[in-house]
């Protein structure tokens, strides 16, 4: 198979990740933070080791502020529901995923929501963002990279603006973690939500919420933490305040190895590899009759998430053709981000999305282009 659906989840996973998941069940099979026998303590130390790795990776000083979740959606929900109260105003962008748009919609009308528009390439304006700020604006949420067209949003400038206005900034790093360097302190990012199974190369079922300083978020679930057991109220300390019930230990061990794998290769090397493949793909697509690239047409300000449409063919039919005839995996339609399609001019038919990862090769992109050229 030629796997070009890495924006949904990366595949394959590095061998060391697979081994770490298997080893976790052999050697770290106890419930961390509860019992105090040897294996439980060893497991607890392993979990903390992963928190430290993640904190270092995202420039976070306190590993306790790394909260494990089941995915980025859950991390975004914890942040959005935990911060926003009735009477607050929140801003997101039209390029955001439903994992942001839906929890915000669920908070309305108690919470007023403004949508920052984008141009036909998915780019946003910081001046437009500033114009939306109100005295009661509590939170700005922004995706780092569009999951539809790969456009990189100016999150550093947005975070700086929010910081200057005393507004919290929540970054959705679903399409950037592991691909673009992120330093939460340097970039003044208050909260970061990320999946563990995309650019971080961990297993599915893992996500993260990183909190840059001591914010009191109302927990959306309550339960056992192995701490303050005599008290009925959820503990105030992180990560226990937002993280309860048994953790996904195989996922955590796999994620730790995914991050070590990225650290060994280097984010810049990963970015350069994907940029090289993207440049080749964009050039090839631009020479195929009836195909239109959606979003930026060159590699500046974008990642290896590329969307296109065809003047005469339905995007679902194209993905099906690629899968059936060439075993090429792509994704078609709306990518859970319909407002982005409205801006990009693809709200009627959606797009075919090709998304690259570290394991893709130039030969695979050549086969994809060959397949598209020979599509009848």
């Amino acid at each position: 198979m030629i796997y070009l659906d890495n924006a949904a989840t990366t595949w394959p996973k590095p061998n060391q990740v697979i081994e770490a998941v298997a080893n976790s069940m052999k050697y770290y099979g106890a419930n961390p933070g509860r019992s105090a026998h040897k294996m439980a303590i060893r497991t607890s130390e392993k979990v903390y080791e992963c928190r430290e790795l993640i904190a270092d990776f995202f420039g976070l000083s306190n590993p306790a502020n790394v909260v494990f979740t089941q995915n980025a959606t859950m991390a975004l929900n914890i942040a959005i529901h935990g911060i926003l109260k009735a009477g607050d105003h929140a801003i997101c962008t039209v390029m955001d995923h439903n994992s942001v748009l839906r929890p915000l919609f669920a908070k309305s009308p108690d919470v007023e929501v403004s949508y920052l528009g984008a141009d036909g390439e998915g780019a946003i304006s910081i001046a437009d963002l500033e114009a939306l700020i109100k005295p009661n604006t509590r939170l700005v949420i922004m995706t780092h990279v569009s999951n539809v067209c790969g456009t990189v949003l100016p999150v550093e400038a947005a975070a700086e603006l929010c910081h200057n206005h005393g507004i919290l900034f929540l970054l959705d790093a679903s399409q950037s973690a592991g691909i673009i360097n992120i330093d939460m302190q340097q970039m003044k990012i208050d909260l970061l939500a990320a999946p563990g199974h995309k650019g971080l190369y961990g297993p599915m079922g893992m996500g993260l919420l990183c909190i840059n300083h001591n914010l009191d978020l109302n927990p959306i679930i309550q339960g056992g933490t192995g701490s303050y057991s005599k008290e009925l109220a959820q503990p105030l300390e992180l990560p226990d305040r937002l993280e309860c019930g048994t953790l996904n230990l195989p996922g955590i061990c796999g994620l730790a190895e995914g991050i070590r794998y990225i650290n060994r290769i280097g984010i810049d090397t990963i970015g350069e590899h994907e940029a090289k493949l993207t440049a080749y793909l964009l050039d090839g697509l631009s020479h195929i009759k009836d195909i239109s690239i959606i979003g930026k047409k060159d590699t500046l300000g974008r990642t290896g998430v590329v969307s296109f449409t065809h003047a005469k063919k339905d995007c679902v039919d194209i993905s099906s053709y690629l899968s059936s005839n060439y075993s090429i995996a792509t994704r078609s339609m709306y990518h859970c981000a319909y407002k982005a399609h409205e801006s990009l001019g693809t709200s009627d038919a959606g797009t075919v999305r090709v998304s690259m990862g570290i394991f893709n090769t130039l030969s695979e992109i050549k086969i994809l282009l060959y397949a598209l050229k020979n599509m009848i």
């Binding site: 961390p32 933070g33 509860r34 105090a36 303590i41 607890s44 130390e45 979990v47 903390y48 928190r51 430290e52 306190n62 590993p63 306790a64 933490t225 192995g226 701490s227 303050y228 057991s229 005599k230 008290e231 503990p235 300390e237 992180l238 990560p239 226990d240």
Partner: protein, 82 residues
């Protein structure tokens, strides 16, 4: 040789002090179950066991990082030290 226990409510806090002691000061400590005699302080928590001579260093880590600890205790008579 005297040992001390620093009792934490959270396993994450205990692991954090253990990690800083090892990485910044080369001091070894061990995560252990809180003794029953200190149970009234802890619920179902962990504590960090170390040689008494390292208590001041460890306690500075607890205080400077704003960690919530139930206190430091002598391992023989459970006398409260901090």
């Amino acid at each position: 040789m005297n040992n001390v226990f620093i009792v934490f409510a959270s396993a994450t806090s205990a692991n954090r002090v253990k990690s800083v002691l090892r990485k910044s000061f080369g001091i070894d400590s061990a995560l252990v179950q809180t003794p029953k005699a200190l149970g009234t302080y802890s619920g179902c928590s962990y504590c960090l066991k170390m040689r008494a001579e390292h208590l001041e260093t460890a306690w500075k880590i607890v205080v400077s990082n704003g960690l919530s600890s139930k206190g430091a205790f002598d391992s023989k008579d459970y006398r409260k030290l901090k």
